[in-house]
């Protein structure tokens, strides 16, 4: 199994398309960093809205590495699924299209082992994409903008998180984002089993994510109760929960706390359930599939 995993990772990282994600993320992060470096104040004014008229805003303090990372995560985590689908949707369908699937399946490894190796290789790829994003958006931003307290804008209030209380929140957020993106990877992986070329599963995954995201964002009471809680896209932004702090009786934030940890954990469990469902279905279908490619 370990050897199979090594083989699958070797194949993924020798494919040129694998590096599209890393290149695209680097380009997007750097573009955002350049923009904030030269015109960060305008952006802060934009997100603070009317608050800027009532408060004296210390722009130089707000615009720090943690803040930039938070903005980048908000902007990019919506689009990264497309990049993940590019590799995950190619895992089985790409092999079928190339004609190598029949060679793989005729080797003395079980189909379940083969699929598990492919799936775990996809998970590792997803984690590396997130690690790359973490490095660029957090480490590089800290290097460029320095550190300070993090100010997070909520609907009616501002959350101020002490600089010593931030790093673990980012680690948790990136871990959560890895699970969220693995859900998308698992979906693309499952669709990949049904196809003979990778375009179908990649486009289908992107379409599903877009439709589900629209449904998740729509403010329609009927959907709020019946549909939204079951869509995986409704839980993909659960990482933000790590940046909302519990408040005491006087409304002061308590350092080291998370406002609604059970809700974050529930969302994570739902995503994990989807991963098991998608990956499990892929394995069951593949085990019975006639390889005709």
């Amino acid at each position: 199994m370990w050897q199979l995993l090594q083989i699958e990772l070797f194949k993924i990282f020798r494919k040129p398309r694998t590096y599209i994600s890393f290149g695209a993320i680097a380009a997007m992060v750097i573009i955002v960093q350049i923009a904030l470096k030269f015109d960060g104040q305008s952006y802060i004014e934009f997100i603070l809205g009317s608050l800027k008229e009532t408060l004296d805003i210390p722009y130089a303090t707000i615009l720090n590495g943690y803040f930039v990372c938070f903005i980048i995560l908000n902007l990019l985590l919506i689009h990264i699924p497309l990049l993940i689908a590019l590799v995950a949707g190619d895992e089985v369908a790409g092999e079928a299209n190339m004609g190598t699937l029949r060679l793989l399946v005729s080797k003395p490894v079980s189909r379940t082992e083969l699929m598990l190796a492919k799936f775990f290789a996809t998970v590792i790829y997803t984690a590396l994409v997130l690690a790359w994003m973490a490095f660029l958006s957090l480490v590089l931003s800290i290097f460029i903008f320095g550190t300070n307290d993090l100010i997070v804008a909520r609907s009616n209030t501002l959350e101020i998180i002490n600089r010593s209380d931030i790093m673990w929140r980012y680690l948790a957020a990136f871990a959560y984002a890895t699970v969220a993106l693995t859900t998308v990877a698992a979906l693309a992986f499952m669709l990949s089993v049904f196809a003979e070329n990778s375009i179908g599963p990649i486009v289908s995954t992107i379409s599903i994510v877009i439709v589900f995201t629209i449904l998740s964002e729509m403010q329609i009471p009927l959907y709020d109760r019946t549909v939204k809680p079951y869509l995986f896209t409704s839980h993909m932004l659960g990482w933000k929960g790590f940046f909302y702090l519990k408040a005491d009786a006087e409304g002061v934030s308590i350092p080291g706390t998370v406002e609604n940890l059970p809700a974050v954990m529930r969302s994570m469990s739902i995503l994990l359930g989807y991963i098991v469902l998608f990956a499990g279905s892929a394995i069951v279908v593949f085990k019975k599939k006639d390889i005709l490619s």
Partner: protein, 345 residues
Amino acid sequence: MHRPLAARGDKILLLLTAVVHRLSARVLIYMYCLIMNVINVSHLSKQFRDINAVTDLSFSVQEADVYGFLGQNGAGKSTTIRMLLTLISPSEGEIELFGMNLRSHRKEILRQVGAVIERPDLYKYLSAYENLLLFAKMSGMRIRRKQLMDQLEMVGLADRADSKVRTYSQGMKQRLGIAIALVHNPRLVILDEPVNGLDPQGIADMRNLILHLSRHLKKTVLVSSHLLNEMEQIATRMLIIDKGKKIIEGSVSELFNPAKTIVEAATTDAATAAEIISKGPWASHLKHVHADHLVFELHKNQLSDLLKDLGVMNIAITAFTPVNSLEKYFLSLTGTNQHVAAFAN
């Protein structure tokens, strides 16, 4: 106290008997291995929705045979080969390889099988060496670079080992496919249409390679093709398949016995003629009935008797053609003369 001599003798006798039993069991197992079939297929069928791709197919392949699996495109050869390699699950029937059931001993069996299935499709973004390395690892081999380079040397690709496969010609890919099939030293080699897309030199190389595998390396080779002249030159046994059904199986010498001949008798009403013949002495010689002709197998000196008796039976024969090559024989069995005739015209 000394034990009685008789008791000691009994013990020695018992011991000797046990040794003889054990040895004979080993000898029997060894003998069994020597004569057992490498492939045993019984009543194999595969249905894809409404299409019967393979119907009730049974055949066996013995150790060191070059077994030709012949049929037109779409006859069911590739489907059968895919079932042998567990790519497709049979609708019915059983497959045994090396005396083991394929379903229950899949891994053990596939460790001893190497295959090239249709086109030799490989990872184009990897080099020949990397492709070989990946598949050798998947076959459970402990690999040394020298071993892999020797394998590439054998198929004439050692000097291009580090070139990306996307730069290879069809013939080079085919040779790399063969190297991958052989890298783990399998007992059984399955080649599905190995000469497809090759130039004349490539075809000759492939023929020599198959003969080398069988004669010098004592491998069992199952090779499918629709090119009968190629099969005629390399196969020791053959099976002809058409529309998913076995037409005939046997050694090439049996199928193409110079003392025997195949005759096509063209007639206007083949079905009625076959009914009349099936009641008479020529029934056992009638091999196939097609819409417009009958196929007989008989000794060469019986030809005139058959022609005379057909006249006696009032069967109007419009043409009487001895088939004198395996290719014509194949076409007569599978009823595809009309295609050939169309091209000839």
